[in-house]
Subunit: 409 residues, 2 copies
Amino acid sequence: MKFGGTSVADIDRIHNVARKVQKEVAAGHEVAVVVSAMSGVTNQLVDYVGKISPLYDAREYDVVVSTGEQVTTGLLALALQQLGIGARSFQSWQLPIRTDSAHGRARIAEIGTEGIVRAMHAGEVCIVPGFQGVSEEGRTTTLGRGGSDTSAVALAAALRADRCDIYTDVDGVYTTDPRITSRARKLAMVTYEEMLEMASLGSKVLQTRSVELAMNHRVPVQVLSSFEEAAGSALPGTMVVDEEEIMAKGLEQSVVSGIAYAKDDVKITVDGVADRPGVAAALFGPLAAANINVDMIVQNVSHDKRTDITFTVGRADLPRAQAELEKARGVIGFEGLKIDPDVAKVSVIGVGMRSHAGVALIMFETLAAKGINIEVISTSEIKISVLIGAEYTELAVRALHSAYGLDSA
Amino acid sequence: MKFGGTSVADIDRIHNVARKVQKEVAAGHEVAVVVSAMSGVTNQLVDYVGKISPLYDAREYDVVVSTGEQVTTGLLALALQQLGIGARSFQSWQLPIRTDSAHGRARIAEIGTEGIVRAMHAGEVCIVPGFQGVSEEGRTTTLGRGGSDTSAVALAAALRADRCDIYTDVDGVYTTDPRITSRARKLAMVTYEEMLEMASLGSKVLQTRSVELAMNHRVPVQVLSSFEEAAGSALPGTMVVDEEEIMAKGLEQSVVSGIAYAKDDVKITVDGVADRPGVAAALFGPLAAANINVDMIVQNVSHDKRTDITFTVGRADLPRAQAELEKARGVIGFEGLKIDPDVAKVSVIGVGMRSHAGVALIMFETLAAKGINIEVISTSEIKISVLIGAEYTELAVRALHSAYGLDSA
């Protein structure tokens, strides 16, 4: 069971979490719990570090910002003991949760489970801090913001857990953002691949890395709410599982599982570049060197040996991208840059489209019928994304949600 | 160097601490620093624990309340790096600071210094959290409130440091409380034994345990202010050292070093107890069993086989002491209890009184001359304490300060 910062934000909520753990114990499960820091605490610590030293040593940053999770582990252990449940905390150096030495964004290499297994066999619930680990050199590391989901999945994998329940402030994964259409439905099941696309498209239910890890180790993950009580049912959230598992359940597999959207990108058009071999490398080489992620790319048909190249980058990377392109202008030889920040990426996602033709056509026809112009298209095996004017986002999402038969009755 | 909670209360003060460390480094010293939690932080954490579970597991209490010091170690390391000084933190499990398993009030058994010595030789300042340790079982322990002084002295002993500088919010040890008389003088040196008496008498400059430890390991301790800048001089505080060291310096040893007072005790008189063997045991046995510390004791001359016994206990222990005595009334067989909360203990302290007669007489004469009645007397080798009416405290302290020649010119 993993509980995020809002789920453990104060003493009352920690007691609430303890009651949720109590139910699982009462149901006969052996439980390990991963907790985040009380919400606001990590921000406060990061703020201290920024104020003390703008160019900080990531090793000491990790020493400071990892303390919030430690506090929560102790408090939850106490709350469980208060309910008469045996419980103890394990810090990352005690297990250990071994990571590489990339402080501030470390990756988990291995988790020692001997202590946890022994405590579990003695009837104790084990509480482990998310987000933190310990390097080969024996120093405290952190996994980067939101790393607690990854900690939980890694621990579930190491323990060969039957399930990894991620408690959050939403009660599952929806066919689309319920704030955009009241017809959005909660999915009972979704595949790792679909979840991965949703996560990377800005649907922030789970950290992308945690989904990758769950997929690689085939850890069944459940997303559910820590605030709403399920009316009796055993699995009230959304299960993120292997495709075969969904098929084995004999569930009707819809072609499209969900509609995602993201407004994190801006569109850059480079006008009048020479249409010759090597020009794409000249253009995208400097961006890659500057660690700027380029997402959708389209190159126009050439006129008079000159062409336009359009692509998207993250909004936060725009100033750096512009600077890099201007620096390389002599080598690339373009006529001008056009920036359009008012764009949105809308995607339809579904493993079913692998075996179904015509999924893209429905998308294009639906958007055309609403008079929405498609600026860029990109596709993967299980996803079709289009770039459109930001103002059409909600209209497009609603129309596609209906067109693919996702609307609730 | 050890810095308490008020010295590291915010980011500005942590930068100030870093500059003090910088000066020592510039003077050619190898420095290890022990820090407390930012002031208020530990209280907040203790409060969380109390709210979550009134009857808490001390092992998890320690997990929670030890985090404040960890935060400060990282922040101070960063502040030093910002000044161009190599610095790193070591948590107690990294050294380790090995303690017994008495969670919440653990005692330090041993400190591993290998890591610190190696880092020092590499030119790094080492920052260590006060107050915390790790048990033989590998669990986090704390030393009890105020334990950071003890951590600092223990680390200084383990490193065979030339000096342990305890930075606090006063600039040294005074002949008496400067709030009572402006003629109080800062002592350049004081012996461990005297410091121990002062500490146990409520002069809260240093924790009693840290002084005991310094005495046992002959660690020279300096008490000095983290807020006032010394005008150039090398040792601006008070040195707490061995008696021989003071003599070796050829300093004039005054007979009395200081006048201390405490208002922490209440006086209990047990009236009309039988004057027979075993009655004192019957009286004080139940108090000892209830872990109530009895300080001064006086027994009156017997009349008609009955006598009165007067003693003092800590103010906080009074309700429990009364309850224990009433429970044991049948066995003790007393007529009544008289409680006087309006008392103060005033003490004159000095190793010089070992070799000087008449020190007590000066005290009694001085108090008599001011019309102050002495209710109880107790003495040790280097201390004479009297219990007087609380309202006379300031009058008595000022008169004694003059009588023993301690007034500044």
